[in-house]
């Protein structure tokens, strides 16, 4: 009687059994799946009275601009907003779902939602999908415990910070924040700094562009400044106008209407529904 050896799974932790196989496959010529670049600049900072969130408005499909003026700042609760970078469908679906859960929670408890609740619901969901839900978020809001700002990564880890940036333009924006951020900024100073950081992302990162959206959240109040700045306006017509140098001689003019002009008079009753 042969004793078949049984493979006992390792107790806890990760199993690295497949690494050898993966290496062998790569040597054989298999291309490993690549990362998805998050073509966005999203930022947030805490100022004296609350939180300011900022985002660019370009949605990209590889090298193509899919939407020149999309909305990246999503509503979570009356006092909480969330900027999303990564796959647009993922950020929209995840923020929509958690916003719905928060609303139900508000009915049950009779209280305003807390930022940490939104944070925990988001990170639980993202972790359970092990990074396949490609949503990198900057979550900010003001609740009963004060102003809060968090970043959430696609795999489910979070950071709590006084100022944060995410997306492909995050390095450009972070350089602005690191140079100019200080505690106790006023509303106008904060907005100016956020706009500057987003512009830095817009002009220096190919994945970000178009306009700047800003959302200011304070205790009991929020202002969603859609298209706060439009540093890339579209110019349609040349201001100088067009002029033709050579004059063409007109020999004959004949105008043929393509369609008869028909007058419609309503007679009788309208169709029943």
């Amino acid at each position: 009687m042969t004793q078949s050896s049984v493979d006992v799974p390792a107790k806890g932790g990760f199993s690295f059994d497949l690494c050898k196989r993966n290496n062998m496959l790569i040597e054989k010529g298999l291309k490993a799946p690549s990362f998805l670049k998050t073509g966005t600049t999203i930022v947030g900072l805490i100022f004296k009275d609350g939180v300011i969130l900022g985002a660019d408005t370009r949605a990209t499909e590889g090298p193509i601009v899919a939407d020149k003026n999309c909305e990246k700042i999503h509503y979570m609760a009356p006092n909480i907003y969330c900027c999303g970078a990564g796959t647009a469908a993922d950020t929209e679906a995840v923020t929509d779902m958690v916003s719905s859960q928060l609303r139900l929670h508000r009915y049950q408890t009779g209280r305003d939602s807390r930022v940490i609740t939104a944070l925990t619901l988001l990170k639980k969901h993202l972790f359970s999908y092990q990074g396949h839900v490609s949503a990198a978020l900057v979550l900010g809001g003001v609740d009963i415990t004060g102003p809060h700002l968090h970043t959430i990564y696609p795999h489910g880890s979070t950071d709590t910070l006084p100022f944060a940036t995410m997306g492909s333009g995050s390095l450009a924006a972070m350089s602005v924040f690191e140079a100019k951020y200080k505690e106790g900024l006023t509303r106008d100073e904060g907005i100016k700094l956020v706009a500057e950081a987003i512009c830095s992302g817009i002009f220096n990162d190919l994945g970000s562009g178009s306009n700047v959206d800003i959302c200011v959240i304070t205790k009991g109040n929020k202002e969603y400044l859609r298209n706060y700045m439009e540093p890339n306006p579209r110019t349609y017509v040349s201001s100088k106008g067009y002029s033709f140098t050579k004059k063409t001689e007109i020999l004959r003019t004949k105008i043929t209407p393509l369609m008869e002009r028909v007058e419609i008079t309503e007679v009788g009753e309208a169709m029943e529904e």
Binding site: S100, L104, Y107
Partner: protein, 235 residues
């Protein structure tokens, strides 16, 4: 669930064609505290007695009138715990509808779904029917609406209705007093007078609860101070 001795449905037909458990559930409702609702031309009001078992109970912690959505409210007669469960289920259904269709749930839809839940509990194994009747008040695109939902799962739209202990007196009073073109404030006064009809003891803002919704489509439970104002006007 299948192997249990009680896995058959407890609501089985009697020889006379009735579901006895539902009849008993309606009796439970009939012995609950009186509640009523009136649909005015520009809003809906629902009200209930809030008789607490002892003066030691903190009356501010008891809320019999609940929100289901920002524009739909509900009150009950019967067993409080059953009401709690129904409110929770209804809120979840309203939120799921909102998420799917990105539209606030119409009052008729929410009533229908709540009634479906109540009916399921009359045709499932090992459960009993809910011992509550609900009065759902809402204001949506179709205007102000008032619905009553019974333990059997049947629902009706009412211009004015009452449930609970004092139902026959209250309904007679409402029949006499109701007019089609009543405004919301008149309706609130009528509601208070109807409650007063069968009230044991002194009526005050501490032992009744009133909820209203107007053309602003926001359902609100009145504060004790507001109830006092209305009571003073009625006197």
């Amino acid at each position: 669930m299948g192997d249990s001795q009680y896995s058959f449905s407890l609501t089985t037909f009697s020889p006379s064609g009735k579901l006895v458990q539902i009849e008993h559930a309606l009796t439970a409702v009939g012995s609950g505290q009186t509640s009523l609702g009136i649909k005015a031309s520009n809003g809906v009001v629902i009200a209930t007695e809030k008789k607490l078992p002892s003066i030691l109970v903190d009356e501010a912690s008891v809320q019999k009138i609940q929100h289901l959505t920002p524009n739909i409210g509900v009150v009950y007669s019967g067993m409080g715990p059953d009401f709690r469960v129904l409110v929770r289920k209804s809120r979840k259904q309203a939120e799921q509808y909102n998420r799917l269709y990105k539209e606030p749930i119409p009052v008729t839809q929410l009533v229908r779904e709540t009634a479906t839940v109540m009916q399921e509990f009359t045709q499932s194994g090992g459960v009993r029917p809910f011992g509550v009747s609900l009065l759902v008040a809402g204001y949506d695109d179709k205007g102000p609406q008032l619905y009553q939902v019974d333990p059997s799962g049947s629902y009706f739209s009412w211009k004015a209705s009452a449930m609970g202990k004092n139902v026959s007196n209250a309904k007679t009073f409402l029949e006499k007093r109701y007019t089609e073109d009543m405004e919301l404030d008149d309706a609130i006064h009528t509601a208070i007078l109807t409650l007063k009809e069968g009230f044991e003891g002194e009526i005050s803002s501490k032992n009744i609860e009133i909820g209203k919704i107007g053309a602003d489509k926001v359902f609100r439970v009145l504060t004790p101070a507001e109830i006092d104002d209305y009571l003073a006007e009625v006197e």
